[in-house]
Subunit: 154 residues, 2 copies
């Protein structure tokens, strides 16, 4: 695999099936997602919401015709930090067959550059404490685990 | 102070000066914010972005004419969790004169109800590890510190 041939682009509706497959092919994702045919309508609605929102981008990493990675980047204007914009990264996954080849790093570095191009002052994400290896991965990329990430599920 | 008289509403541009004051009157906020007259243009631009975005709400708690609390709630459509919507809470502050009177709890409970009304499946936030008392505050409200909150500042 030649990583120079990876292409990063916004996802289209035709990519959605593969994206949901990638999200579900994961130790935590397989409990949360529902990958089946036809895809549950909720995924299609979410894709449409993201696609029509200029501050929300679903990005795929492609190797030839194959989607080998995905991430979602959301840009938000906050009042804090003197009215600064932040990018939030969510749902980062790489295909199990190509894990450990640096595609995850390239996805995050792509997101960091995109955030800079959009004038953000910060990139942020949360990572489940059940994934200690992910924490190390993000720290190597320059992130600081300065915050607790709190969730309240309904 | 009779908490039953608190009113929660979306902020207007006339409230912005007081909001920036509240954000800056804080042990971490006083390093990040710039409260001066006239207010830096970046705050006004951020207010306009938030105000024109149906998925971004700046909420104030009012006691009579006085703004005694503020928070920002952002609603985001993600592909993860079967295309679920989440609410993210940011920039929660109460006026120093009324701290410890339960206004912070009422702000968060208001946000939780708002998130339910909007069809979210989760409310999330990050809290700086330099605020251990805040972690306890959110845990009492039902949040779980299941994630690490990672930030990369440019």
């Amino acid at each position: 695999m030649n990583k120079n041939q990876l292409i990063f682009r916004e996802a289209t509706i035709e990519d959605l099936d593969r994206i949901v497959y990638l999200l579900s092919d994961d130790v935590l994702g397989n409990k949360r997602e529902q990958y089946k045919q036809p895809l549950p309508e909720s995924y299609i609605k979410a894709f449409q919401s993201i696609n029509s929102d200029p501050n929300n981008e679903l990005i795929v990493a492609c190797y030839g015709e194959e989607i080998v990675g995905v991430q979602q980047i959301t840009f938000t204007s906050f009042i804090t930090y003197q009215g600064g914009w932040r990018a939030t990264i969510e749902g980062v996954r790489t295909a199990s067959l190509v894990r450990g080849k640096g595609i995850g790093s390239m996805l995050i570095q792509w997101a960091i550059q995109r955030a800079k191009d959009r004038g953000c002052h910060m990139v942020q994400l949360t990572t489940d404490k059940k994934r200690p290896e992910a924490l190390h991965f993000y720290e190597k990329l320059g992130f600081k685990a300065s915050h607790e990430g709190l969730k309240l599920h309904f």
